[in-house]
Symmetry: C2
Subunit: 383 residues, 2 copies
């Protein structure tokens, strides 16, 4: 807090950067303290060991780390920004659900203290019309194709596609959104300068050019198992709905879905072959009733979109017989395909009095469905 960086950056920004690292996020005790005294005073007190007693065990290990300036340097070198709750772009509507009681259930159910962001997308706007497309890293080609179709369809409907930047479903969703020139957002479980997974460095870079890469972790933070779980809540919070494309019985996607439910957001899941382990988690959610079955993007739009954005009903294939009345159908069924039957024979087979088959026969002849020769009737086959 004494280094030259404190001079180069605004005091509040520098304080936020320091606070972002001083406790493992999210830390409700830290958030409460910052809210009470403001970021500059909070940083100063923690640095000096003068924080409230209930906060000490959370900040004790890292209070001496004075790398806020270096972190902001690293961010600036990448053209990034540190988004803080006082910024007009802070997606406060999306995060409001955390305040609405969710925090009482789990310690982690809190809005982030700050967000480290690369990329031009405005998070407040993204969160207003976005869908999380998530799933297993160990996806099948079926799942990969579905994720891409879904992301493309959502992009067409002007939704941003939010995901976790991982291999498998996440990557397929991000790539398809980019290919359709849509907005896509990757929420990371590591520092903004730690490309993870490393095989997605180029993809993450492309996302940052048109959409956004974001994380609540300060630069240099390594990904860790619990950070993925904690990160998932932001994927859910920044989306109007969460769609699980493929998930095994033990999958992070189920965790994201649980966060979405906790935040009161709709959860959808795509079914797959029951023989596919990669769909077992989806089927489990669908059986438990914790997710709604969807098969295409329009159905997701229906739950994530504005009131009245309804998916079209699938067209049921029809036949010329659909337009016939009951009596005509019954007479039609009683007609032989070959040879021919007299009116009396048709009537008997249809179990109708002869005078009640004459009208239907005439109508069937007019429709081209029946023909008569020498007083014998039969079905008229058309190519």
């Amino acid at each position: 807090m004494n280094g030259p960086a404190a001079v180069r950056y605004d005091a509040a920004l520098h304080a936020w950067a320091y606070l972002s690292r001083v406790a493992e996020p999210p830390c409700p005790e830290l958030a409460a303290f910052v809210e009470r005294v403001g970021p500059v005073q909070a940083a100063r007190d923690i640095w000096a060991g003068a924080e409230p007693a209930e906060l000490s065990s959370y900040v004790g290990a890292r209070r001496g780390l004075d790398c806020g300036g270096a972190d902001l340097d690293a961010l600036a070198a990448r053209d990034g920004r540190l988004l803080t709750p006082d910024d007009p772009q802070w997606p406060y509507l999306a995060f409001r659900s955390f305040a609405a009681g969710a925090g009482s259930v789990r310690r982690e159910a809190r809005e982030p203290l700050v967000l480290w962001v690369l990329g031009p997308a405005r998070l407040d706007e993204v969160a207003d019309r976005s869908v999380a497309v998530v799933g297993t890293r160990a996806c099948t080609s079926y799942g990969e194709q579905l994720a891409a179709d879904l992301a493309a369809g959502l992009t067409d409907a002007d939704f941003a596609v939010v995901s976790g930047g991982a291999y498998g479903i996440d990557g397929a969703a991000h790539r398809a959104a980019l290919a359709c020139e849509g907005t896509t957002v990757a929420v990371l479980a590591a520092g903004i300068d730690v490309p993870y997974p490393s095989g997605h460095s180029a993809l993450l870079h492309r996302i940052s050019l048109t959409g956004a890469l974001l994380t609540e972790y300060p630069p240099g933070t390594r990904p860790a198992r619990y950070r993925f779980l904690t990160r998932n809540r932001l994927v859910a919070a920044l989306s109007r709905a969460t769609v699980v494309v493929e998930a095994g019985l033990r999958s992070g996607a189920a965790n994201t879905a649980a966060w979405a439910r906790m935040l009161g957001r709709p959860v959808c899941a795509l079914p797959g072959p029951v023989t596919s382990a990669a769909s077992a988690g989806c089927h489990e959610m669908l059986r438990a009733g914790t997710a709604e079955l969807v098969t295409r993007a329009e159905q997701v739009v229906e739950v994530a979109g504005r009131c009245g954005e309804l998916a079209e009903e699938p067209e049921h294939p029809g036949t010329p017989l659909d337009e016939l009345g009951e009596a005509e159908k019954r007479v039609y069924e009683a007609l032989p395909g070959r040879g021919g039957a007299t009116v009396e024979e048709v009537a008997r087979d249809a179990a109708l009095p002869p005078q009640q088959v004459l009208g239907p026969l005439a109508l069937l002849e007019l429709s081209g469905l029946a023909e008569s020769r020498d007083g014998r009737w039969r079905i008229c086959r058309r190519e």
Copy 2:
């Protein structure tokens, strides 16, 4: 009613056979008349044109068909029997649901007048522990495999497998039940002597040797579209639950499922790839909430079986980390995979005071998950 057959057969049986053909089943007016005056009197009155006025239009076309004796001959030649409501094997419990109000909804929602049966299975016992496995004729190999797996699993659980004898899902279900030496029942939409589809003649014959072939239509009746729909109600009625394996958007299986719902029986559907038209009908039912998603036989047993026959929960794959407490997990995640970290470094990364990482480190070492060399800790990888 005057031919020699009337002498060869019991008068009541002969009357039932005549009544079975005199009106297209099911015919509520005929059923009511038979219930009032008994089968012999009813047959005599209709033959003489002395039936109640409301019945005339239903029996007018066929009252002169005196082939009850020939029908019974045809049945006897195949070792079959004509099952009537006064028979102790009549599945009256299964058919009771028709009486429970369903008849008021649709004219066809009636129990059959009689059943023409081939095969040794007792229908009252079958109906007590059976599941209908139905689906599209145009099934995929995926659907065929599922139908077979399901039928085999149900057979193992002592359920009879009821279906419609058709190509595709029906056939796969029947065949698997036979292969497992289970009881399987095919409900036909034609006369018992009209093998339909003809490619299933041998299969239907095999079913009749150990299970049952049955139909409400008298011998010689040709299958017709409306007879399939009417037949479907018996498939549903003779089963504790109906499972749709694969169904297109326009499929008879959806009709069977609708009958099952109307009769208050559970309906299950298996999901499939959303890209498969053969699963579209299943997905539609699952979305509409008119069917419950199932992925294997045990889950069907759960809805169709006795109280307490519960499917085992799928085993969630575990890792040694599952048994660790929160602090141990956090410390584990903070350990480097290569090199090594001092206790202070681990504490900082885990955001815990150093004295709180010593216990977890010791426990991790005991569990074989961490190791220390020269005061530096790291993850211990196991093959």
